[in-house]
Amino acid sequence: MVQTVPRKRIEILVDTPLVPRIVGKLKAVDISGWSLIHVDSGGGRAGEWQHDDVTGASAKTIVLAIASDTNTARLIDAIAPLLDSYGMLLTVGDVQVVRGERF
């Protein structure tokens, strides 16, 4: 069977206007790539939002990144101080990655 390596699957739900800042943090801790997943709408304590409400300011996006344990820990440390003011949601899960040496 093909070799797999354990990596972290990081999901950051964040206001769309703030995505470039998050991507900046990812680059700063040497995470090599990211993908932005389209979120249509959502709801939480602050009420509900829809992607399609002209003012891009209330839309949210999921930043998905696969990273090594070390880089993940560095990212969490870098991002944690922003979590409250930015209203972010950050989850980390375990995955196996095929040919994952490059992450």
């Binding site: 939002w49 002209v54 300011a57």
Partner: protein
């Protein structure tokens, strides 16, 4: 004029959207379609403004109007800030963020005003599009200064996102198509007129249908609106619009353009400024500034404000 306004298809579609959302209908306008319409509307008014200025050239009157617009955008947030702190009981950060919205402008309010005023035989000058573009950003600077006054630079200091603010989509598009219109002139514009002129009012109907849906949903889903804030979201357009109309009259603009300046002052941003605030003041609550500008002031301006400042300009002029 208010009677004409209320039977104009443009306004009736806005009301339809508002009612549909209030009834919790599943009617929605796809986001891409709404963005397409707003790009179309901005390109169209930019072009038309530029074509007009290509005829008149840059006159002293234009320079004065531009200076007045800049000054209003810089200064209106100061008054708004005081009212938001005093009457609204908002924190400094939230008051600064909201003040920036009311100093800046709403393109759609302006476009709707142009249509309604023109329908009454009151066409604002073409260069008012340039004034619109100039008024988008100064308020952001004032708002941020007010929000941060006395703040010690601790933690991750959020710097003013100059670059994002100066190259924001609507400024680029308005200024760009204004310049294109000025270069192309009437002759160059003729070939694209069928799209950008003939269809304009119909597109505005569909766009306001969407704005009605969005304004009502915003109001209903918000958990941040107090009566005080609703009151302020009506007071601020009235105050700012009155100031704007008076300034326009005093500097010698024609009646229609003075009314347009009043409406620009009365209108509140809900695209460019929220995006800038999210970056520069992430701790300010979007639930407050979006609900005020989009949920209350926008409908108020569309339905009443335009007629009010038109009447004021006529009374003063």
């Amino acid at each position: 004029m208010i009677a004409d306004t209320l039977t104009s298809p443009v306004i009736l579609f806005f009301v339809l959207g508002f009612v549909a959302a209030a009834l919790k209908s599943d009617l929605t306008i796809p986001e891409a379609f709404a963005k397409a319409m707003s790009i179309y509307l901005m390109a169209a008014i930019g072009l038309k403004g530029g074509v007009e200025v290509s005829k008149s050239g840059i006159t002293p009157e234009i320079m004065v109007a531009a200076a007045a617009g800049l000054a209003l955008s810089f200064l209106l947030p100061v008054l708004a800030f005081a009212l938001l702190r005093g009457i609204g009981k908002l924190s400094k950060v939230d008051a600064g963020a909201v003040a920036a919205h009311y100093g800046s402008v709403s393109v759609v309010t302006f476009v709707t005003a142009i249509e309604l005023l023109t329908g009454e035989g009151l066409s604002p000058a073409g260069y008012m599009v340039a004034v619109l573009a100039l008024m988008e950003t100064p308020a952001i600077i004032t708002g941020l200064m007010l929000a941060r006054r006395g703040e010690s630079a601790e933690g991750e200091r959020n710097t003013t996102p100059w670059h994002e603010v100066l190259t924001n989509a609507s400024v680029m598009l308005l200024v760009g198509s204004f310049v294109i219109g000025a270069i192309a002139g009437s002759d160059g514009f003729a070939s694209v007129k069928p799209l950008f002129d003939t269809g304009f009012r119909g597109v505005l109907c569909l766009f306001l249908l969407d704005m009605g849906l969005i304004a009502a949903r915003r109001l209903m889903q918000s958990r941040k609106m107090t009566l005080r804030l609703v009151f302020l979201a009506i007071l601020l357009p009235l105050v700012n619009g009155t100031i704007g109309t008076i300034v326009g009259t005093v500097i010698g603009l024609d009646i229609a353009s003075a009314a347009a300046l009043g409406i620009l002052a009365a209108s509140a941003s809900y695209i460019a400024v929220p995006a800038a605030m999210r970056l520069a003041l992430p701790q300010a609550d979007p639930g407050i500034y979006l609900s005020m500008s989009l949920g209350v002031s926008f409908p108020f301006n569309i339905i009443f404000g335009i007629s009010i400042f038109a009447a004021l300009a006529q009374a003063l002029g």
